[in-house]
Symmetry: C2
DNA sequence: TGTAAGGCCTGACGTAACGTAAGAGTCAAC
DNA sequence: GTTGACTCTTACGTTACGTCAGGCCTTACA
């Protein structure tokens, strides 16, 4: 199946298919000698999954990361996407309720507070972070916190030292040698106080941004440190996988 | 109310409020000597309306045009937006149904055609054009068509001549003198065969893009002519208003 | 009154995800 | 072989902000 047919079927443009090929998001099964892209049935399933993530609000980069994760499980992902769509549906319901109330307000039937006026308009939630929260959840936060609370002063100092070193390199790219070396030490340190798979390590990194407690604590060592660590941990995981 | 408070209330960023001020979409009621933006209650109502159009899929430019139209009626707009949100919800429901069916497919419970796989993913509808269709609808199409069917050959030739002239200038900007002069003739011509207000004229221009029959007919005189005429008619209307 | 912290401004560069267009090669039907 | 539709690559442009820097403004408290 060539680009025009796929475009007509799926609702995306030919340009979009080119773009997704270029960025490595959706590679066609076959590319002919003439350069024509031939898409398989598997490609169509993949495209469907991509379009769902896109519709939910994931960036293409994030989508690519999810699909390339060795532990990616299609059925699990579909279930997760279904839940996320329901959340969108709930938000849309809120918006409809708010506009209906606004229409009533306009007719003088009700009054509205400022808060009511914008109910349904909170788009600040980042679905990628929300997904991490759903997946790793409170458990990893509590478990890590509990372990850290059991620290002796030697580990506490060690932890703070790594934070400080990370804060110092946070102006570097997250994939630089220095950043990766230091984040490697963080990974090892965490595995002296617990057992973290690479996936869990990356998940924890996402929680640094998704969970306000983590973020606030870490950013005390330097502005944007939580964000930097999240990126470096993700990079570390992808390099080791 | 200053930017931080408005941002927290509405869910948009401070940068967004700056941007909307810059482009003239949402001007604060007061700007202090220090340059501080002070938003009024009326500004909040306006922002709500903007955010609804944005959520539905209108570009900021389109939103600005709608809000600035002298015949803009707030209650009517809210009702129209409510309907558009219902359409979005229907589409979201389709997507949810499709993903549920995909999950079943993944478990081997059902099979799926290619068409079924992408049901719900048709985002090609342009809400602005759809709005024009809703507003001016079949009526204006049929009325204009009927009138043109009653032409003598003199009017028919006159109409074709204007189309040809427009096709010749379509490479120019829609707001250029030449384009506007020719589109002015089109406006006059239409008003010899019927009565078109400026709003209706602009609405007809939108229908040239929204209704496939119009588009196909007009584009026979030159590729992209319908699009050009739509733009020029809109510009003509805004200049005269 | 002075101070400090938080808030706000403008200017400006960068980003993501394509849309559009041009020029040229490929494919399929007649 | 021809023609029209399809496809390619290249490359520039668009929209709607996000991010950041440097500096001014406001408010609460000592």
């Amino acid at each position: 199946m060539r680009v025009k047919e796929v475009a007509a079927l799926s609702g995306v443009s030919v340009r979009t298919l080119h773009h997704y090929d270029e960025i490595g998001l959706l590679k066609p099964a076959v590319t002919t000698e003439a350069g024509y892209r031939i898409y398989s049935d598997g490609n169509l399933s993949e495209l469907q999954q991509i379009l769902y993530y896109r519709a939910i609000g994931f960036s293409l980069k994030q989508i690519k990361e999810i699909l390339r994760n060795p532990s990616f499980n299609r059925l699990e992902a579909l279930e997760s996407q279904r839940q996320m769509l329901h959340r969108k549906r709930t938000q849309l319901d809120d918006m409809i309720k708010t506009i209906e109330r606004t229409i009533k307000e306009g007719k003088g039937e009700v009054t509205m507070s400022h808060e009511e006026r914008f109910k349904g308009f909170d788009f600040s939630g980042n679905p990628y972070e929300q997904e991490a929260k759903d997946r790793w959840g409170e458990e990893i936060v509590d478990e890590t916190t509990k372990k850290m609370n059991q620290f002796g002063s030697e580990n506490q100092e060690k932890m703070n030292e790594i934070y400080r070193r990370l804060a110092e390199v946070r102006h570097l790219p997250a994939d630089s040698e220095e950043a990766q070396a230091t984040i490697g030490e963080w990974y090892q340190f965490l595995n002296t106080i617990g057992t973290y798979s690479l996936d869990a390590f990356a998940g924890l990194g996402e929680m640094y941004m998704a969970d306000e407690r983590f973020k606030t604590n870490i950013d005390q060592f330097g502005q944007g440190l939580a964000c930097f660590m999240r990126d470096a941990m993700k990079e570390f995981t992808q390099t080791k996988n």
